[in-house]
Amino acid sequence: MAFVNAPTAVGTIVFRDASGSVAKLQIHIPFGTLAVAALAAMDALRTALLALSDCTVISTSVTYSEVDNAPPAANAGSRVEEKGTFVWRLANGLTTSFQIPAIKDSVLTTSGAVDRTNALIIALDTAVTGAGAIFAGRDGSDITALFAAYQKFRASTPNMLPKDR
C-alpha cells in the first residue's frame, strides 16, 4: 500500500450559460507545477476560452491528487453511513466540522459520544490543531480546538444497499 501522485494535476473551469445551466471543462497540468503558476495559467486559459464560448466562467480550480496504488480491504462490517462527527472551534469564534465515515466503535463511549481521552482521538486533535497544523474553516480562519465529537448515522442511498440483498 502506497500513495502515489496522479500523473497530472487536473484543472477545471466551470461555465454557466444564459439559462443558468452549468458545464465543466477539464484540462491537465504536470503534477509538479506550483499552485500559484497553475492558477495563473488557468486564468489565461479562461481568457482564451471566453473568446470561443458564449458562456460565462464562474470558477476555475486546480486539484492535486494522490491515490493508493494497492489499497487493502476495508474491515469487515464497515459501513460509511456510520459517521464520527467532529466539530471544531475556529479562531474567529465560529465552528467547522467534518465526518469520518465508518467510525470505529472502539473510540466511542456507550452513549455514542467520541471518547476524547482515547489516544487515537488525541492524535487526530493534534494533527488538526497542533503546532504547525494548517487546517482551517471555509472562511480561512484557523482551527483552534475540538468543540464536539459524536457518532451519527446517515441514510443509505440506493447504491449503498447490499448488492446481494
Binding site: P7, V22, L45, A102, A123, A127, K163
Partner: protein
Amino acid sequence: MLSTAPTWSMTLRDASGSSAIIRGTLLPGTTASAGLAAVATLAGAIQDLSDAIIERRSVSFSQVAETIDAAGPTPANVTGVILFQTSEEFARFIMRIPGFKPDKTETTGCFAGERINLLDDDVVNLIDFLVAEPWVEPWGLSLTAAEAGYVREES
C-alpha cells in the same frame, strides 16, 4: 477572479464497496506540497479511527469570479470538441468547450456549421496557447497540434 482558501478531501471505501468523502479547508497561502503533506499526516490519524480504507486524498486551489458577466445565447450543451495530437504518436486529447460560438465554425462545405474553423484567429490563439507549456493530457503527454474540431450537442 478571487482566490478562495485551499480545500482538501479524502475518499474512503467500506467493506460493502460504498464510498464517502471527507472535505475540509486549509489556511490561505498553503502550497500544494505543504497541503498534501498535511493531508497525508491527517490521513494517518483518520485511518486509525475508521474501519473504511482511504483510497484517495487531494488538495484543490480555486478562484471564483467576483462578478458574473452576462452569458451569450448559445446553450452550455452546445460543445466545441477539439482533438489534439500529443507527443506520443497514437495518443490523443479531447477538449470540450461549452457554449461554443456558432460564428467560429466553417461557413462553406458539407460540414458548414459543424466543423470548427481551425484558422479562426481566436481558435488559433487557443490552440497555440494549449500546445505551449504547461498543458498536458491526463497521463502527462504534451499537446503538440490540433487535428480536428467539430461542434456537437451534448445530451
